[in-house]
């Protein structure tokens, strides 16, 4: 019984690993005050979904979806998830870079990239009426 449970886990290890990474990434985003850490957390969340997609497309004993001249035998892995993830990776990079550019600008304005410190400065500013 216990043994078969572990076999189940081992057979679905990529799926469960993706779930773990999703949760770890979400935890990193929510708990950390540092913006760079938050962005790393978001990247981990994104790659977890990509891992899930690629694992869905995998087939045992299959060759990569690149055909060779003449020979078309044998199973191939599902090419659709790979194609989706290629797009997804680039989208992830775009979001990361835009977030980082805002981190640079925030550092120039506040001198720190910790959310709680910035909120403290903002609150002390709030006491004086703002324009």
């Amino acid at each position: 019984m216990i043994y078969s449970f572990w076999i189940q886990i081992l057979e679905h290890v990529n799926y469960i690993g993706a779930a773990c990474l999703f949760v770890v990434g979400l935890y990193t985003v929510v708990t950390h005050n540092n913006f760079i850490k938050k962005i790393i957390g978001i990247n981990i969340m994104e790659t977890s979904v990509f891992l899930l997609f690629v694992s869905i497309g995998f087939v045992h004993g299959a060759s990569p979806p690149v055909l060779t001249l003449g020979d078309t035998g044998g199973p191939f892995v599902n090419p659709l998830p790979s194609a989706l993830i290629l797009t997804g990776i680039v989208v992830g990079v775009s979001i990361t870079v835009y977030g980082l550019s805002m981190v640079i600008q925030i550092h120039q304005l506040y001198g720190t990239i910790e959310l709680d410190e910035i909120l403290d400065t903002e609150e002390s500013k709030d006491d004086s009426p703002h324009a």
Binding site: L10, V13, N14, G17, C20, L21, V24, G25, Y27, T28, H32, N33, N34, I36, K37, I39, I40, G41, N43, I44, T47, F50, L51, V54, S55, G57, F58, V59, A62, S63, P64, P65, V66, V77, P81, S82, I85, L86, I89, V90, G92, V93, T96, V97, L100, V103, I104, H107, T112, I113, E114, E117
Partner: protein, 79 residues
């Protein structure tokens, strides 16, 4: 093959936890780069060479450079 897959997944989770845990942002970024590389190897193992190549170039290469460029312009340590 399944054993290698298992080891890589465990390594990924450990990398993710470590990247969240370390206080040095530069280390976190380097750990994240190694995470991306391991992810690329895992995808190569899952027979998706296109995705692996893209992740190695984009995720481990360009993203890391951008992270380091930003850390060099901001601060290195997390408080």
């Amino acid at each position: 093959m399944q054993v290698l897959n298992f080891i890589l997944v465990v390594f990924l989770v450990i990398c993710a936890l470590a990247a969240g845990h370390t206080k040095d942002l530069l280390s976190a970024v380097v750990i994240f780069a190694s995470y991306s590389l391991v992810m690329a190897v895992l995808w190569l193992l899952l027979q998706s060479p296109d995705v692996a190549l893209t992740e190695a170039a984009m995720g481990a290469g360009v993203t890391t450079i951008m992270f380091i460029a930003v850390i060099s312009r901001t601060s290195r340590m997390e408080k």
